[in-house]
């Protein structure tokens, strides 16, 4: 056995003895923040490449009002908002960071579009799902949405 291997065994023994550090649940550490910034930038790049280049993106720290249709008790740290064709896509990492959630809101009609379809554990599949959603949504013309808006206003 060589030096590194022997030292590695000591390292494993040492970290095994370590008390697990207090979970940093409420504090967004520098470390986590930088990785979220990186994931956020990556999503924006992939969105531009695979969905549309016509959008505005904005990072946010915490979503002040989480949509009511999200599960109670789950926490979604802030990540990203993308505005595209009068739709707002809000993207967040859940508290375990094991999933990325996104929900699409129709700003023109003032209603949510879909929730379930955009839960994902990978950036690639999130983008893939969003691309499919917008392929359908972009076929609906603004005129059609405006008509629906008027009908909705009059409860028709």
């Amino acid at each position: 056995m060589n030096d590194i291997l022997m030292t590695y065994e000591k390292f494993l023994q040492r970290i095994k003895k370590r008390k697990s550090s207090d979970a940093v649940e409420d504090i967004k550490t520098d470390f986590q923040k930088r990785s979220e910034e990186y994931i956020s930038d990556l999503i924006v790049k992939e969105f531009e490449k695979n969905v549309s280049s016509d959008f505005e993106a904005e990072r946010f720290e915490n979503e002040p009002t989480q949509p009511s249709y999200l599960r109670k008790g789950a926490h979604y740290p802030g990540l990203l908002k993308i505005k595209h064709n009068d739709y707002t896509i809000t993207i967040g990492l859940n508290s375990t960071r094991a999933k990325i959630w996104s929900w699409v809101y129709d700003d023109l009609l003032d209603e949510k579009v879909d929730v379930k379809i955009t839960e994902s554990i990978t950036v690639d599949s999130l983008i893939d799902k969003l691309a499919k959603v917008f392929k359908k949504l972009d076929k609906i013309s603004t005129e059609e949405r405006n008509s629906r808006k008027i009908l909705k206003k009059h409860n028709v």
């Binding site: 056995m1 060589n2 030096d3 590194i4 291997l5 022997m6 030292t7 590695y8 065994e9 000591k10 390292f11 494993l12 040492r14 970290i15 095994k16 370590r18 697990s20 550090s21 979970a23 940093v24 504090i27 550490t29 520098d30 470390f31 986590q32 930088r34 990785s35 979220e36 990186y38 994931i39 990556l42 990492l93 375990t96 960071r97 094991a98 999933k99 990325i100 554990i121 990978t122 950036v123 690639d124």
Partner: protein, 147 residues
């Protein structure tokens, strides 16, 4: 081939995989988002190590998925292991002295990357360099003139 590369070959053998799999969480599936974050942060830390420490440093590259959360390097017979802890919110480094029979020297914990790099520089400056290596050899009972 440098010693560190030769060492790396041993590190990636089945025995090491067994060792790693015994540690809770090592064999846990890395989620894509976390895996991407770790790769990004590891690269950041690696760049800072290269930037802030002398050129004679040897970084121990990991290539197995199972070792994704590790970064290790060697300088003047000081061996360091860096591990991302608690859902990647804490960075921990364990320092060992290769001259003194891999004796544990110190550890650094930080939730801030810049502070971690600063502490790493401070701690290592106490043990690396010609004077320090001679002192360590002398403390270990090794005649510095024979080395």
């Amino acid at each position: 081939m440098s010693n560190i590369l030769k060492t790396y070959e041993s590190f990636s053998d089945e025995k090491m995989k067994d060792l790693l799999s015994k540690k809770r969480g090592f064999d846990k599936y890395h989620q894509d988002v976390d895996a991407k974050s770790v790769v990004f942060l590891k690269e950041w830390v690696k760049k800072q190590i290269i930037k802030n420490l002398p050129e004679r440093i040897e970084i121990f590259e990991d290539k197995n998925k199972i070792q994704k959360s590790f970064l290790s390097f060697k300088i003047d017979e000081i061996i360091c292991f860096i591990k991302f802890e608690n859902n990647y919110t804490i960075l921990n480094m364990q320092i060992f002295d290769g001259v003194k029979d891999k004796e544990w020297v110190n550890e650094i914990d930080s939730t801030n990357l810049d502070y971690f790099i600063k502490r790493m520089k401070d701690q290592l400056s106490k043990v690396i360099g010609p004077d320090n290596i001679n002192r360590r050899k002398s403390e270990a009972g090794i005649d510095k003139y024979n080395l």
